[in-house]
Subunit: 299 residues, 2 copies
């Protein structure tokens, strides 16, 4: 059993951010906006603020009403002293959340969830501004966190063009924010990816989707890596008898998506990626600052 | 009973488009994209193509696979000989549809459903390009169709700043594409608007949303205008005993949302707005062409 602590993997990334921030002459300022009075969500938001503060990034956590969030986002977009914006979703838990996500100025979009960045991801465009190779594009925090975690685990080969070539991956979650970008990124990195959500399966190869009729059981039996992100108690948790021995298992949902005895069947089980996600958000914040807000960035 | 035929109300708008198109030296070319083999949806798409052709707009209806739609949209965005794009939704029936909607170049977005136009709508910005009063912004086709219908019926006062001042409106549907823009537009036009969806009610006043605990019964009992767009058989159809006499009733859903005897209780009942919506799509197509594609439009 490989003892994998997401917090310790995150540590190196966080240290790198801390050192870069310390070397800067001007402060980086971000706002987090939460429109929820759910206690665990607020606790999570306050913990995030603390982690940002710990590396020297000023993090103003605004607790707002959901109906004023739109206004708050626009005010933060317009404020030159704010360099990054993070929204705690879900807010309305419907299409309006997609509207709000896209309302964030891409130059301040820490999560890289707005169309500007999503289109670059799907187009495999690596630059923040077309033609300027000095400014790198942002990637969404959770998919990036998962890939960095797999890299730390040695599952992703380093310094090769297709680091998961020949591997089969199954991902449960095809949201626009997490599961679909992750499927595109991993298939772009060489994997054959089966993607499941309530609408059924798709297969991704070389960043392109294909129709498939594969079942959950067939996909799991084939997979070297299984990644879950189903925030629902009704999801049938993945059992030992469904996966190959030593399948790499990663859950990024707040709910357990694997049976508790999964570690009897695999050496690599990552039960949560939250700390890595926060580290990637910090990394994105720094990238936004360098790309768009520092003295050296031309707008 | 006012005999209101949406097709006849649409006729004037369509005639105006036909005359403008006839006066043009170059053809206007649009593509419609449908990724569905549902027979009624295909029939609707083919009828739309015919209507566009009837006014002299070249309408290329592309029947595509859902997984190639993304590529088709990008190809149409890049093709200078295409001046407008219309996507038949739903495609995936999840967040991915919002992604596809936003993928359409705003200069070709007939439905005005992408963020560029939605943000202008919510900001009450009337110009397609900031500071250029010669190019008018686009509004989404269905909300616009409803307002033009209410204008034709005399419910909307003409040539006044707040044409529904003092009126109370209830709208069932708060989608990002139809119900929410309609609520914003009508409240901006002076109405007090109650907006219902499965997440509960909101109230809109002067284009701003407010929390409310009003019930369906209370809202209906107060309303001068009731507008429905619930594409579900499980919606409890609106009954005569729920509305005031002569409430203006409009349904834009493909399902009947009012009880069949509703006309016993009101003089103005519009059972569908489809033909007006198509007319508004033509109008938007022309506006896109004038704003962005004609010889006179500077890009």
């Amino acid at each position: 059993m490989i003892d994998i602590d997401p917090a310790s993997v995150a540590h190196d990334y966080i240290e790198a951010v801390r050192q870069e921030v310390a070397a800067m002459s001007d402060p980086i300022r971000v706002v987090g906006m939460i429109a929820s009075d759910d206690a665990p969500s607020l606790a999570y938001a306050r913990a995030t603020r603390q982690r940002f503060a710990d590396v020297g990034i000023e993090y103003d956590l605004q607790e707002v009403e959901r109906l004023t969030l739109e206004e708050s986002i626009m005010a933060a977009n317009a404020d030159p002293d704010i360099h990054g914006i993070f929204i705690y979703f879900p807010v309305f838990n419907n299409q309006q959340d997609s509207y709000l996500r896209n309302l964030v100025d891409y130059r301040k979009d820490i999560e890289a969830g707005s169309m500007y960045w999503v289109q670059k991801l799907y187009a495999n465009d690596r630059f923040a501004i077309a033609g300027d190779s000095s400014r790198k594009a942002l990637l969404p925090c959770t998919p990036l966190a998962i890939i960095k975690m797999l890299t730390a685990l040695g599952v992703y080969a380093e310094d090769v063009e297709r680091p998961v070539a020949g591997k089969t991956v199954t991902i449960f979650n095809r949201s626009e924010v997490n599961g679909r970008p992750l499927a595109v990124m991993m298939s772009n990195d060489g994997a054959n990816v089966y993607s499941f959500d309530i609408n059924g399966p798709l297969r991704f190869e070389n960043a392109k989707p294909f129709e498939t009729r594969i079942t959950r059981q067939e996909a799991l039996a084939e997979s070297d890596i299984v990644i879950t992100g189903v925030p629902s108690k009704s999801f049938e948790r993945i059992r030992c008898d469904e996966i190959k021995p030593n399948t790499v298992c990663v859950n990024f949902s707040s709910h357990p998506n694997f049976e508790d005895d999964i570690t009897a069947h695999t050496d690599i089980y990552v039960p949560k990626v939250g700390p890595m996600t926060v580290a990637m958000c910090m990394r994105n914040t720094l990238r936004l600052y360098r790309n768009f807000h520092s003295h050296h960035a031309s707008q």
